[in-house]
Symmetry: C2
Subunit: 422 residues, 2 copies
């Protein structure tokens, strides 16, 4: 008897047959006495179809006016999903009502196509729950202060679900997806990869941001900030699986470190080949130079991941960072027009054919030599490391894209991730 | 230099290529100095696709809760259209912004799937026009008092366009459609059918309601009530046709009778095979019986068209009416459960295989013998008349569906509609 939030991805919502199965699963939880809020994604392929139409009409433009229209268009995918799921639940004999983002409302900033949730008014949803209704809320979308529709970016429905769970102080937020939990690494690369029964919030944050792609990173940030118990589990189990068994399945993202009996040093290997590296050569090493370089990039709403600046020689230094591969050409152009002239940099060079491989683990905090072991493993495989960054619980290297599988497999084995933990 | 409303149907919006042509046409008008508001329909086939998905999940239900979800789903078709058209206009170099029904807002009652517009707040639209933007408003949809999305029924985008034109006191509302105007009858049935350069509002009202299907009837009512100059014209002319020529094309719906030099007695032949006839047999002929029979039907939100009650015999009478063919089974069931027991009627009978054929013309007001000529023409063709209704400017008969084409062709010829007017 608790308030539970379910989130279903595009694959789970991919056909009316699958939507019917989602409805049966939700109905099972509702009949067990839970108050249910459900956040579905658009039917798989729908967002791409819609944005494809937009792209046919305007292949290159990225003005704010255009981005506003993309959100107008893309948000309809989830709107269709919520309506269909409400109908499927009604056909199961439950009372169900659907809401778009603006109807709740889910308030966001005005960064079209990458908006951030600012607040959620749960009054209407609570009234429906109190009246015994299942409430279905469109993920991925919100409303800015001028009542424009916004979207949260790819995977944004995860964030919507967690934000709703946080606002409503839900007992647990269950993210149903096409994988059955969080793995030590991608099983498609390493067949020996194991599912983690629990993973810490910090590890999950690093895994998600580094490309494990199970959850949108902002959803994990949200879950961490508001301490929303979050479970990733499979939507492919039969809908009539025993509810107690279902509630224990998948991977639980935990906030208390001592929940784990014994902490593995490395929890998982993450990787990402969506990035491109860019280096601004020969910039004067003086205060404010990092902002001079990255300010225009941030202003253009381009996300920056790894940033590296090494010690200087003769008052000059090289400044490197990575961006999403889709932003590569635009960033290079931006640097050449807005940064090189102003900073007297020598040149801008880059490479879109790189990948980032990371080892992640809370245990790294109290274990020395983890990073150097990683470097040794890569050296043994003859893989050259192009960039290195580290944080408290992860170490990442940028390497040539073609070595990615080799690196991930070697690291997974070297850190004993294919062995069950004690 | 005027405020002009354009409305484009689903065929005109049927592909990105066609949307690009709509954008070029609108841009031509905007560049000629007009303030432009555009109301597009959903891309052709989209509304059916969306409602088809809903139907797979709940084939039979028509509860208010379900109808609410249908509107949630169906309204997305127009939302996608407005975003795509805004993008196409931006690609043409114009400033353009799109709005859903709720963003304007267009306020309606809560009759889901058949809502009626109550008010339009044009403040935001006016501000955009003043700033030099083309404004695109989603047709077919609105917002009820509880902020639920509503839709206006099939063809509702026409009504949206006229209502916007009325609210903004537009100079003219141009309805671009896949026919090039209003014809004396359907050219697919009668190849000699002619386009009318003008048609009176009253005639148009009767033509639309009787099935000419060029415009949704409520849009014509709206146009009449608020005296919105309304023009039906083809969206298939090249977009770069001379604007003065385009502004004179199609059919203008007029409000002043004396605009026509010589009034034809009959303006056109309308027909409709979407209806079914129902007769409640042997009801007591007493005050209130019509309401007792039709009250439950109206309550179920079923539209009634023709109603006939003839004189009674022995205190009993037969009560006949027509409904949309889709509502036939539901109406019969409703009458058997809610009306027959209460009224002591003998039986309910009906026939969904009928059609209605009407002659329409303002000239009928001042010419006698028009109806009797119609009956003679049908008799000459051996067509039995099942029901007759008349109004000031039309006479309608219900006949067996199989005689429809024959009746329409014979009447079109008999009333000289294939001859150019003087």
């Amino acid at each position: 008897m608790a308030l539970i939030v379910h989130k279903y991805g595009g694959t789970s919502m991919g056909s009316t047959e699958r939507i019917r199965n989602v409805a049966k699963r939700v109905a099972k939880w509702a009949r067990a006495g839970h108050q249910m809020v459900v956040v579905p994604s658009a039917m798989s392929g729908e967002t791409n179809r819609l944005l494809g139409l937009a792209k046919e009409l305007s292949p290159a433009s990225t003005t704010p006016a255009l981005l506003r229209e993309l959100d107008m268009i893309a948000s309809t995918g989830e709107q269709v999903s919520v309506g269909l799921l409400a109908i499927a639940l009604q056909a199961e004999g439950l009372e169900a009502v659907s809401y778009t983002g603006w109807q709740v409302p889910v308030r966001t900033d005005s960064s079209f196509t990458k908006a951030r949730i600012q607040s959620i008014d749960d009054a209407r949803v609570r009234a429906d729950l109190a009246a015994g209704r299942v409430v279905i809320i469109a993920g991925f979308q919100g409303l800015d202060e001028n009542d424009n529709i916004t979207t949260l970016g790819r995977g944004g429905s995860d964030t919507s679900a967690v934000a709703v769970a946080a606002a409503m102080k839900a007992h647990e937020c269950l993210i149903y997806t096409d994988v059955d939990g969080v793995y030590t690494t991608d099983p498609r690369i390493v067949p020996e990869a194991r599912r983690l029964a629990t993973v810490s919030f910090e590890e999950m944050l690093e895994m998600a941001s580094l490309g494990s792609k199970v959850l949108q990173i902002r959803s994990v940030e949200f879950a961490g900030k508001y301490r929303v118990p979050l479970r990733v589990l499979s939507s492919f189990t039969p809908w009539d699986i025993d509810i107690a068994e279902e509630a224990r399945s998948g991977t639980l993202i935990t906030f208390e470190e001592d929940e784990k009996m014994e902490q593995a040093v490395v929890a998982g290997i993450a990787f990402n080949r969506d990035e491109a590296k860019i280096t601004v050569l020969g910039v004067p090493d003086k205060p404010g130079i990092a902002f001079q370089i990255l300010g225009p990039v941030a202003e253009a709403n381009i996300d920056i991941d790894v940033i590296i600046q090494n010690v200087s020689h003769d008052g000059k230094t090289d400044f490197s960072f990575t961006v999403h591969r889709n932003d590569y050409a635009r960033t290079i152009e931006l640097l050449n027009t807005k940064v090189v002239p102003q900073t007297a940099a020598t040149n801008v060079v880059g490479d879109p054919k790189i990948c980032k491989v990371s080892i992640v683990g809370i245990g790294m905090r109290s274990h020395v030599g983890v990073a150097s072991k990683m470097f040794r493993v890569l050296a043994d495989e003859g893989i050259n490391i192009q960039m290195i960054t580290t944080s408290e619980i992860k170490t990442s290297v940028v390497i040539d894209e073609k070595y990615m599988e080799l690196a991930v497999r070697a690291l997974h084995k070297a850190f004993d991730l294919d062995q069950p933990t004690g």
